[in-house]
């Protein structure tokens, strides 16, 4: 996994319109992020072109002009801004794979679904949970194409005129910054797993299949 330190770039807000009212889209589910027809791949790569496929292209495969990632400068977005419960639904890791393959490395939302949140870190994507009011305060700047800088080390979002702090769990932060391989670090604790397996087999022999 690539090491993550800071990301600077365009931020694309996912917006719903109701009359003149603009608000962040809530409950963006993993079927929206990457529809099932793209889950037949046996690879991790190449899914970026199908990110948000059914919102991004019409049924003939033509781009839908009004969709944010089809507009300049958001085609080059490195940051996504969304409403509550981002990534709900299926456990498909194709969702973060497609987001990363598109070029997005940071997602800012008031809340995330658990499995998606976890899957993001495993792929070097930083999901930032922030108060909805604070997120709303950066939509205007984002819509105008202002670059945002996300500094993970200092836990800051840097805008032209101000800085906003964000929280991140220290274990996840460390893994992202060092680009750690989870499996490698768990295997270093193999002796604990060996011990546990002996205890498990003694206490609950029916748990073991052979």
């Amino acid at each position: 996994m690539d090491k993550f330190s800071s990301v600077k770039g365009i931020a694309a807000p996912m917006i719903n319109k109701s009359g003149n009212q603009l608000s962040l889209m809530m409950n963006i589910d993993t079927d929206m992020i990457i529809p099932k027809q793209f889950l037949k791949t046996i690879k991790r790569s190449g899914l970026g072109k199908n990110l948000f496929d059914e919102m991004r292209y019409d049924s003939n495969g033509n781009e839908i002009d009004t969709f944010i990632l089809n507009k300049e400068p958001f085609r080059d977005a490195k940051i996504l801004i969304a409403g509550k419960n981002f990534g709900c639904g299926s456990s498909r890791e194709h969702a973060p794979w497609s987001i990363l393959d598109f070029g997005i490395k940071v997602i800012i939302a008031p809340s995330f679904a658990d499995i998606f949140f976890n899957n993001s870190f495993k792929n070097g994507i930083l999901p930032i949970k922030m108060d909805e009011d604070i997120i709303n305060s950066i939509i205007d700047e984002s819509m105008q194409g202002e670059h945002l800088e996300i500094n993970l080390v200092d836990q800051e979002i840097i805008l032209k005129n101000r800085k906003i702090n964000f929280d991140v769990d220290s274990v996840n932060k460390d893994c992202l910054i060092k680009g750690l391989d989870d499996i490698g670090s768990t295997l270093e604790k193999a002796s604990y797993i060996d011990e546990f397996e002996i205890e498990n087999a003694n206490k609950r022999p029916w748990n073991i299949l052979s």
């Binding site: 009212q21 889209m25 991790r44 409403g83 679904a113 658990d114 498990n200």
Partner: protein, 468 residues
């Protein structure tokens, strides 16, 4: 006396292989594997020259991609065929038991786990599929994981985890006529929302839960992920033990007795602490239906579609507006009577024998509306066989349903079973997301009985009126 504990606390503590600063290694007893979320995990093992730590603790089957038409004709779709073949090849290479597509045990991964006795109380069970929560019905800690974690479990038999919080959902009273486990689950999601359980493990308690059959509990736990909680739990009891006794992979002989004795200690202690508790009265519930594109968009079949002006929260109102536009429904109008084109009975939510019995119970002497195409997809080959022994297949076929081969089918529409644009479906599945059952398709989640009633009426209808 030690501190009173919940069943979740007990399973968590008994599976901690390592406890560090802020992160723990949770030992995983059982791993279910399917074709869609595993190829990249096996590829990862190969690239880093790693082995599967405990191949005998895993069980694999193809379900998501598989056609529900005659199996002897092959898979048909090239990409699906490659994915299914890749699963079989990977299982062979790494020594994992694979249930072939021609095997009568083949079926949806969450249906075959319990059927085979692979699922037991007190276990930790994972699968690269969010509906792994289903297995919590047995008092097992079971949840969905992504592909990186599938690889992690294959290589280490553990997961890096943080403990979740305890959430008690207590469902009191008794269900009235035609109110099923599906309705209980939808009412919970409606009450707490699709993010209401985020960060929690939900334990279902109360008379309405304990009086459910084991299969009903599976439906309830299955839908826990739609309320945002990765895992749902019901404490195991005599019904659980009776369901599991004699299953092919269940413990046998003396080991069975020891296991039951242990399983009886798993129930939550009285006075155990829950971070959150809600109570629902089952007696007040009616058959439910979803109107929108989120499983929390739940109303009673005799209710009305929401009015936009009644919704105070801006982002909620714009989400509802988007949903209603997508679903092509009129705000404020009754949900009953909305015409449908398709009916789907099946999925890991409602593809078990009791679901099929429930749906079939209202069909004798009736015909599927000529405007409706209706299909039944049994959850496994064994469910299909049992249904055929009971003559349920003939009841469905005579009413005008298609009787298919097992698989996930139109729940996620990865195979050929999908809605056409704008088609409206009464479905026993678990997600009504935009495009879930096919691009621009419109899904209403209902119980098997309500789906069967809709097939007959040609519209969303109240099954209670139909039976009279």
């Amino acid at each position: 006396m030690s501190e009173p504990k919940t069943i979740y606390d007990k399973i968590w503590e008994s599976h901690l292989a390592y406890e560090g600063d802020g992160d723990c290694l949770l030992y995983i007893d059982r791993h279910l594997i399917h074709e869609v979320t595993s190829p990249q995990a096996f590829e990862g093992l190969r690239m880093s020259n790693r082995k599967v730590r405990q191949p005998s603790n895993a069980l694999a089957v193809a379900d998501h991609n598989i056609p529900t038409t005659d199996r002897s004709l092959g898979i048909g779709d090239k990409e699906s065929e490659i994915q299914i073949q890749t699963l079989e090849d990977n299982c062979k290479e790494f020594g994992i038991e694979y249930i072939k597509t021609s095997d009568k045990r083949q079926g949806i991964v969450h249906i075959i786990g319990p059927e085979q006795g692979f699922t037991l109380p007190g276990l930790t069970i994972v699968c690269g599929d969010s509906h792994t929560s289903t297995h919590g019905a047995f008092g097992a800690l079971a949840h969905g994981i992504g592909t990186s974690e599938v690889e992690h479990v294959l290589a280490t038999q553990t997961l890096i985890q943080k403990k979740a919080k305890n959430f008690q959902v207590k469902i009191n009273g008794a269900c009235k006529d035609s109110v099923t486990a599906k309705d209980l689950a939808l009412s919970v999601i409606g009450a707490i929302g699709t993010a209401g359980g985020t960060g929690y493990v939900i334990e279902y308690t109360g008379e309405a839960v304990t009086s459910l059959s084991v299969e009903g509990r599976m439906t309830l736990c299955n839908l826990t992920i739609e309320a945002g909680a990765r895992a749902g739990l019901v404490c195991p009891d005599e019904k659980t033990f009776e369901y599991l006794k004699g299953r092919p992979m269940s413990p046998k002989g003396n080991e069975w007795d020891l296991a039951v004795e242990y399983w009886k200690t798993l129930s939550s202690d009285s006075g155990a602490f829950y971070d959150k508790t809600i109570e629902i009265d089952a007696g007040n519930l009616t058959p439910l239906v979803t109107w929108g594109t989120s499983p929390e968009d739940v109303i009673s079949i005799d209710g009305n579609i929401p009015n936009l002006e009644d919704i105070k929260d801006d982002s909620k109102r714009s989400a509802v507006k988007r949903s209603l536009d997508y679903m092509n429904l009129i705000p404020g109008s009754p949900i009953k009577g909305v015409p449908i084109d398709r009916v789907f009975i099946g999925s890991c939510t409602n593809g078990r024998i009791e679901d099929l019995r429930e749906a079939a119970s209202i069909l004798p002497g009736k015909k599927v509306s000529e405007k409706v195409t209706a299909m039944v997809v049994p959850g496994s080959g064994l469910v299909k066989e049992q249904a055929e022994e009971e003559g349920l297949d003939q009841i469905f076929i005579q009413a005008g349903f298609e009787w298919r081969e097992p698989g996930c089918s139109m729940c996620l529409a990865m195979n050929a079973d999908k809605l056409l644009p704008k088609e409206r479906c009464a479905s026993t599945s678990n997600r009504n997301f935009e495009g879930r059952q096919g691009r621009e398709g419109r899904t209403h989640l209902v119980s098997p009985k309500m789906a069967a009633a809709a097939a007959i009426a040609g519209c969303l209808t109240d099954v209670r009126e139909m039976e009279i």
